[in-house]
Symmetry: C2
């Protein structure tokens, strides 16, 4: 059977997943392309494969429902300019949370930045990401694409940062923030067994009331007439340097 109508009830439900509120409500989200589908399957998050009717690749995973759709439907479900041959419907992963190397994000707005940060976080052994409620949705399709599937490899929780930070302090995890005045040079920053680093919004950085909760501050050395780095770059450099 091939789904051909945009008015089909099931297709209509899938289309709703393009909006954050339905992703939040159902705990499901869409992914594009073979690479992400494979990553999702390996993590056990893949519920449904959506295949283009003229798709040549034979894709078959046990326990995963297959839906075959027309090009028109694929185009509507995907955000990619050239719609993929394959998409997937996933449930949000539940990975075992670590509490050694933690990243907190306060209001990151650009989906490309958030995805890139998640990708780097996995590369540099972060074992838990707390995303503030004021950030872009983690399950936005551009975030997922930019993460290159790494979204399935690190536990991510959406939280109120002002509530989680005191909990981390109780566990004796040092809370790190970035600040030039009164901060320590990243290059000579001591290696820590455990830490939680807070990074912030593209334009405004970390909110002052959150930054005040930090135990230590660090900064990245750079040329004087350069005001700042892209937030995904700054986060990645810090995680790279703190990674043993």
């Amino acid at each position: 059977m091939v789904y051909t109508s945009l008015e089909n009830k099931k297709i209509k439900e899938l289309r709703k997943l393009k909006q954050r509120k339905y992703r939040d409500k159902t705990n499901h989200f869409l992914i594009d392309g073979k690479h992400l589908v494979e990553e999702a399957y390996q993590t056990g998050c893949l519920d449904t494969i959506i295949l283009l009717e003229e798709n040549q690749d034979v894709v078959s995973y046990s326990d995963v429902e297959v839906m075959v759709v027309t090009k028109e439907i694929m185009k509507v479900l995907s955000d990619v300019e050239t719609p993929p041959n394959i998409m997937g419907v996933c449930h949000k992963p539940e990975l075992s949370t670590g509490q050694n190397k933690i990243l907190l994000l306060d209001g990151v707005q650009d989906p490309g930045n958030l995805g890139t940060i998640i990708r780097s976080a996995v590369a540099f052994h972060v074992d838990m990401i707390y995303v503030g409620k004021n950030s872009v949705d983690v399950y936005n399709s551009k975030v997922i694409r930019s993460s290159q599937g790494m979204i399935f490899k690190v536990p991510i929780q959406v939280v109120a940062l002002e509530e989680i930070i005191p909990e981390l302090k109780k566990l004796d995890i040092p809370i790190l923030g970035t600040k030039v005045t009164g901060g320590n040079r990243l290059k000579s920053f001591p290696k820590l067994e455990k830490f939680a680093i807070i990074m912030g919004n593209e334009g405004n950085g970390v909110r002052p009331e959150i930054l005040d909760l930090c135990d230590q501050y660090l900064y990245i050395d750079m040329k004087e007439d350069c005001e700042s780095l892209n937030v995904a770059v700054a986060t990645s450099i810090i995680l790279y340097e703190l990674d043993k």
Copy 2:
């Protein structure tokens, strides 16, 4: 006088600058927003300011022509979703070229990545960027925005990399590339007075025939099941680490 017609000859010429071939032909390009206009003015690249007719800010620079336009025209000239109050027309900067810390880019395609790389290059004291002809246009408006104006602070030349690399070798500048097998760990890589590092395309990296021209190779340590980093992130980490 307010420009009101999209058919005006001058407005039509400005519209052409949204295409690479006209930017290449005229050596001029458009920029959006006050911050970029200020940066361009400081570098002496700003030829014309384009102001929205109801713009409240008084902007005046000596020796810079001012054009006042309608919202409709601003919308057509700008690529930004919410058109800015101010734009600028610039000529391509001619900055004095350095030959100590050099970045070569082979086929970087995403304008956001190229802009972010330029921003980081300035932060970490790169004094010359050679962009391969197979890369996205440096004067694409998204590249300029992502560079946060840093495009005016480092000399950039579009070249055939296979021609420039032998020239750099004659100057005894070590050519560095990235390679995991047979490469050196970036963390323990010696600091160099002079270097030229080559970074590549988002999906395919540096072309093999270019990579073969390198004198030394390095790699960034990362978790095993993470295949790679975003190219802007990888470039920034390497430049950060090589920066004395």
